[in-house]
Amino acid sequence: MQIKTGARYRSQVCDTELIVVRPLPGDVDLTCGGHPLIDLKAEPTVGLTLKQDADAGNALGKRYTDGDRQLELLVTKAGRGTLAVGGQPLVVKEAKPLPASD
């Protein structure tokens, strides 16, 4: 799937919802719980289940990134599935907060 900044997606097999903060170019194999993510408003394919080796879960408000730190996804609703790109689980991006400026 092609993804762009600000796009919102959901898992087909758990409650996970997220927003893209930094996309990867081209076709991206983005999955949660072992199955492709779909558009936030789309309906999941019937009969899919969370894969046993992809149930590490994720946390609300955390950002997840790939090994190269190019992709950045923000979890807006937590769920039980593992977030992955090309089968590789994503990792939590450490906070490097800016000082409050507002």
């Binding site: 609300l60 408000g61 507002d102």
Partner: protein, 494 residues
């Protein structure tokens, strides 16, 4: 979306108000859902707010978003004519106003006082949040207009979301943290702060009518941990304190922005608030608030450095926030060399560049012209010299008033200064330094000129020096140069 996340993570935490009577995120969420119902039921296609900053702002902002209509906080200090002119730009607005402003707007359809709206919103059935595309307008802000007629900048949901998630860590605030907000609600920083503090989980405390004594007292009484001020407010706080360091044990960070900070005020503030982390935030209405930050570490490093290039960073606005790119361009559009001044153009998902009725002003590659004159040093620190429109052209040379102002503000007799250009038959424009003196001080025009000539190029020496009692500012601390020029050039002035 942000409010749902906040409620999930820390619903019972205090969101708004004092320690003793705060409203929780859950409670705010219910008010917002009921408020959305009311906005929908009223048939309004936008929401206008005419009132001072307070807990109603986040509620109205979020309720408008939930109802799927744009929200527009308006400058309540405008004349009735001015306000009604802005209201005429909005599409079928529901006007929510403080009691004191209600009579100015009550000839419109759909007017409610803030208290009436809040009560009704708390009692109404929650409405489900509207499902809007992210490129719909979330907030319409009329730009501060130090030059002519205000335009309405369109900030889309996607711009605001990008700004917040790019610069704030969700839920990062500790439960006892509190932010003091004293900027007016029609300033982009007010909209930004309503979102960023909600997203960080920080309790919002308001001081709607700024007074330095009241500000200091509120920081102490409410255990405020962070605050945001415009430079004129900091100048007044520093003046109020004199030489005694502030008694603000809980305050950890102080952000400032909205106008240029006189370096003398900043240096005094750094001495009077030794334990506080200072942050300079630079941004425009059109960029969804902050695009560059000079961090507390940057301030400390600059203030403590012997290297003049590092020390100079105290006058910079810092480095760009994640996701934003910047380019300084020559008048012909080519990128300027590193360190050279030119017009600042920026690009990124938090930048809108769209105005109501005008459309987008982005160039073909998505760059936005800030109309600020700036330069970027080799380490990526951005120095903003002022509005491009304020540049004085004297004898064919471009002179940024800020350079001369920075020198004059260090003159022992000078409390405040603005440098403007007035028309001149010989030079095109000549440089006039308008100074406000410290109590009991006197100046001699020639001495002031020599003071500048010793520190800057000869061509930057003011031609005239005028003394006045005070300078005209907007409520957010931007000096009104047009007014100064008008005064200087009116037939009545000598």
């Amino acid at each position: 979306m942000f409010l749902d996340m906040a409620v999930s993570a820390y619903g019972r935490r205090a969101a708004l108000g004092g320690r003793s009577d705060a409203i929780s995120y859950e409670s705010l969420s219910r008010t917002v859902a009921g408020g959305a119902r009311m906005i929908g039921a009223s048939g309004a296609r936008s929401v206008a707010f005419v009132g001072v900053n307070g807990p109603a702002l986040p509620a109205l902002l979020m309720a408008s978003a939930a109802a799927g209509v744009p929200f527009s906080p308006l400058n309540y200090r405008l004349s009735a004519d001015g306000l009604n002119q802005l209201l005429a730009c909005l599409d079928a607005p529901l006007i929510v106003a403080d009691d004191v402003f209600e009579s100015v707007v009550n000839h419109h359809d759909r007017v409610m006082t803030v208290n009436a709206w809040l009560s009704a919103a708390r009692a109404a059935d929650p409405a489900p949040a509207a499902d809007l595309p992210d490129d719909e307008c979330a907030v319409l802000l009329f730009t501060s207009g130090t030059t002519g007629r205000p335009k309405a900048a369109v900030l889309r949901h996607e711009n605001l979301v990008s700004y917040v998630v790019g610069t704030v860590e969700f839920g990062a605030a500790a439960p006892e943290d509190a932010v003091l907000i004293s900027v007016p609600p029609y300033h982009v920083a007010a909209v930004g702060s309503a979102l960023t503090n909600l997203y960080a989980g920080r309790r919002m405390v308001y001081l709607p009518n700024f007074d330095p004594g009241a500000w200091l007292a509120l920081v102490a009484d409410e255990g405020v941990t962070s605050a945001m001020v415009v430079p004129t407010m900091l100048a007044r706080i520093v003046e109020h304190l004199g030489d005694a360091p502030a008694d603000v044990a809980t305050l950890r960070s102080l952000a400032y922005g909205g106008a240029r900070m006189p370096v003398t005020v900043l240096e005094r503030a750094l001495r009077l608030f030794p334990e506080v982390g200072f942050a300079n935030a630079y941004g425009l209405t059109e960029t969804s608030s902050t695009i560059a930050v000079l961090t507390p570490e940057d301030h400390r490093e600059a203030a403590g450095s012997d290297d003049p290039r590092v020390r100079a960073r105290l006058t910079s606005v810092g480095r760009l926030v994640p996701g934003v790119e910047a380019e300084v361009r020559e008048p012909d559009g080519r990128p300027a060399a590193i360190g050279d001044a030119g017009e600042l153009w920026v690009r990124g998902p938090q930048i809108s560049g769209v105005y109501q009725g005008i459309g987008s002003v982005l160039d073909a590659d998505g760059w936005f012209p800030t109309r600020d004159r700036a330069r970027i040093d080799a380490a990526g620190y951005l120095f903003v010299d002022g509005r491009a429109d304020d540049v004085i052209i004297r004898g064919g040379e471009n002179i940024a008033p800020a350079q001369i102002e920075d020198v004059l503000v260090r003159h022992p007799a000078v409390r405040d200064v603005a440098v403007v250009g007035v028309p001149d038959d010989e030079w095109g424009e000549r440089i006039v330094a308008v100074v406000v003196l410290r109590e009991g001080a006197v100046v001699d025009a020639d001495e002031v000129r020599s003071f500048v000539r010793a520190r800057l190029r000869g061509s930057h020496t003011p031609d005239d020096v005028v003394v006045c009692r005070s300078l005209p500012y907007t409520p957010t601390g931007k000096v009104l140069r047009r007014e100064i020029v008008a005064e200087l050039t009116s037939p009545a002035s000598s």
